[in-house]
């Protein structure tokens, strides 16, 4: 038996379960209970209304695009940050965490000011590319990208640090091309972390509210996201409808996290078996 620093398994597991129970399971089960009162027919009416369908569709695809953007650029940022030393690295490091720290409504106001048709960036983009950013789905993507930014970077960084530079050097000395080193050595070890980062960012922005209400324009059937729809149901004292929508979003997030976890387990098993055989 290994001596552990902290006392007993029983105590620590007990605390874990109590903690998760009070903070996560209890409130979530209240939501499920509320939603459970709804008959299936009601559920259908709420979910299949064109406005809801549109909001869900919009939220999912903009979240997907925003998280994909974050994967692409997050990889570059994480790479630069772990492999190179450069001046003001600490400032850049702090900037990456800023979306974590900033209240999202502040972010929303700031982004809207910058990207609105009269804002400095928004005006430039509109005159050069012909796209209006704020009050369009593009604006939602911008806000979501901002909010999800740290997730990919912060999950990739420790993994990138762990990878032995020797493995790359060995590959190079055995005559592997740069592309081969990337695809055979770096990519397989980075893939799980990348997917985790993507999922975290995706699940986070799926429910994002604070920053999006300002920049999206909130037009039904155009730029209305699910979190706003939930709020507008609550504003009409329609707790049941809000609970139904919230439950659906929760199920989507939960399934997504389960699928990703399953993939991780499968991938790790395959990867380790392949490397040990």
């Amino acid at each position: 038996m290994v001596r552990r620093v902290l006392p007993g398994f029983g105590l620590s597991l007990g605390i874990t379960l109590m903690y998760l129970g009070a903070i996560v399971v209890f409130p979530v089960s209240m939501l499920v209970l509320r939603a459970a009162h709804i008959s299936f027919a009601q559920f259908q009416i709420i979910l299949l209304s064109p406005r809801t369908m549109h909001a869900i569709g919009l939220t999912v695809w903009t979240s997907f695009v925003a998280s994909s953007i974050n994967v692409l650029f997050g990889f570059v940022v994480a790479w630069v940050n772990t492999r190179y030393q450069y001046p003001f690295k600490r400032v850049v490091d702090a900037l990456i965490d800023l979306p974590f720290a900033l209240p999202t409504s502040v972010a929303g106001i700031a982004l809207t000011a910058g990207f609105s048709p009269h804002g400095w960036l928004g005006k430039t983009i509109e005159t050069t590319f012909g796209y209006q950013v704020a009050f369009r789905p593009l604006g939602i993507i911008v806000a979501m990208t901002f909010v999800g930014l740290p997730f990919v970077i912060r999950t990739l960084e420790p993994v990138l640090k762990e990878i032995d530079v020797e493995a790359e050097e060995a590959g190079a000395s055995l005559g592997a091309s740069k592309w081969q080193i990337f695809s055979k050595i770096l990519f397989p070890s980075l893939l799980p972390a990348t997917i985790t980062g993507f999922t975290l960012a995706f699940a986070r922005v799926l429910g994002e509210f604070g920053s999006i209400v300002f920049i999206s324009g909130n037009m039904p059937m155009k730029t209305e996201v699910v979190s706003l729809l939930i709020l507008s149901k609550l504003e009409q004292y329609d707790v049941v409808g809000a609970a139904a929508l919230a439950a659906v979003m929760m199920v989507i997030s939960f399934c997504l996290l389960m699928v990703i976890n399953g993939f991780q387990v499968w991938y790790q098993r395959r990867f380790f078996e392949a490397s040990s055989s």
């Binding site: 106001i109 209400v213 909130n218 059937m221 709020l231 504003e235 009409q236 329609d238």
Partner: protein, 331 residues
């Protein structure tokens, strides 16, 4: 360690005993009343101390009217509520039974010390020549108004617009068509009144902002002097600003008497004058007359006379699948 805890406990009890002649009130209000109550509360405290010898501290909570009502329903211990819509207070009475359903009969003037109305805020010089509701749907005019689904106050905007169209065209179908047309001129639906004000004044979007008179007066006379003009449409809607004691909470806290006195103070000339200073129309005739040049006469309809109260208005316009939703889902 234990000793310190005991010490703190004893100190806590002692403190409470020492300040016995002290009452605390929680006033749960909506967003734009922040400055008003900041000025009013110390004046009421002084008045109450002089009258009874008890010093009273008033705590404020501000937020969207509907959200605040829901917080009270869910257990926020408000002694008094001062919200934007009587409908929100109705919901507290109906869903949580914290006050009688006839709360509007408990204080003068349907329990509304002030009222306001809906006006247009346009850019300086009124370049698009917006004078009436029908001007809002002229080609090229962009209108800023919050979503009536999320901002309770914005429902007044919709009702006033619709009624003006009905009176002009004498046809409900045409009024519905007008409303649909109107929202085609709305490029951004903010979730609340302050959000729309920011969109219009700070982002520079839109030609006209449909907003409360008190917000518009605050902007034209103080905050953004000289940039905007206030336009009164020939007909608007009367928005009573209701207040109520949350009787069950007040009883539990032992604050029933001071809570009632606090709200009654709003109807006294002092309270009325402070309200008028913050551009709420006072119900008191004498106070109103002193501020007459600030509040021009406007023909105002009411939700009760034209729509039969909020329940009916909501069912017809704002519930899921009702008129407002149809504007966006059927094209």
């Amino acid at each position: 360690m234990k000793r310190i805890v005991w010490l703190l406990l004893i100190m806590g009890v002692g403190l409470q005993g020492g300040l016995y002649a002290q009452a605390t009130l929680l006033n749960v209000s909506y967003d734009p009343t922040r400055e008003f109550y900041k000025e009013l509360n110390p004046k009421f405290s002084a008045y109450w101390k002089e009258k009874t010898g008890i010093s009273v501290t008033i705590q404020q909570s501000h937020g969207g009217s509907g959200k605040q009502a829901r917080a009270v329903i869910d257990g926020l211990g408000a002694d008094v509520v001062t919200l934007a819509l009587s409908y929100d207070i109705d919901q507290i009475a109906k869903k949580a039974n914290l006050l009688p359903e006839n709360w509007q009969k408990q204080l003068p003037n349907n329990s509304s010390p002030f009222y306001s109305t809906i006006v247009f805020l346009v850019r300086k010089g009124n370049p698009k020549k917006i004078r009436d509701w029908s001007d809002l749907i002229k080609p090229g005019v962009e209108v800023i108004t919050p979503s009536p689904k999320t901002g309770g106050g914005a429902r007044y905007n919709v009702l006033a617009a619709w009624q003006s169209a009905l009176d002009r065209t004498k046809s409900e179908a045409k009024a519905n068509a007008y409303l649909k047309d109107l929202f085609k001129h709305v490029p951004v639906l903010d979730s609340g009144a302050r959000g729309s004000t920011t969109t219009f004044t700070q982002r520079g979007i839109g030609d006209v902002l449909i907003t409360w008179e008190n917000e518009a007066l605050l902007l034209t006379l103080e905050k953004e002097k000289g940039q905007f003009e206030l336009v009164y449409p020939p007909q608007s809607i009367r928005a009573d600003i209701p207040v109520a004691v949350v009787e069950k909470n007040a009883k539990t806290h032992g604050t029933s008497r001071v809570a009632k006195a606090y709200l009654t103070y709003l109807f006294l000339p002092d309270g009325q004058t402070i309200g008028a200073k913050y551009y709420y129309r006072p119900k008191d005739k004498r106070v109103f007359d002193t501020f007459k040049q600030q509040f021009p006469a406007v023909k105002m309809i009411t939700v009760e006379e034209k729509f039969g109260g909020w329940d009916k208005a909501n069912a017809k316009f704002f519930d899921d699948g009702a008129l407002f939703d149809q504007i966006y889902t059927s094209r």
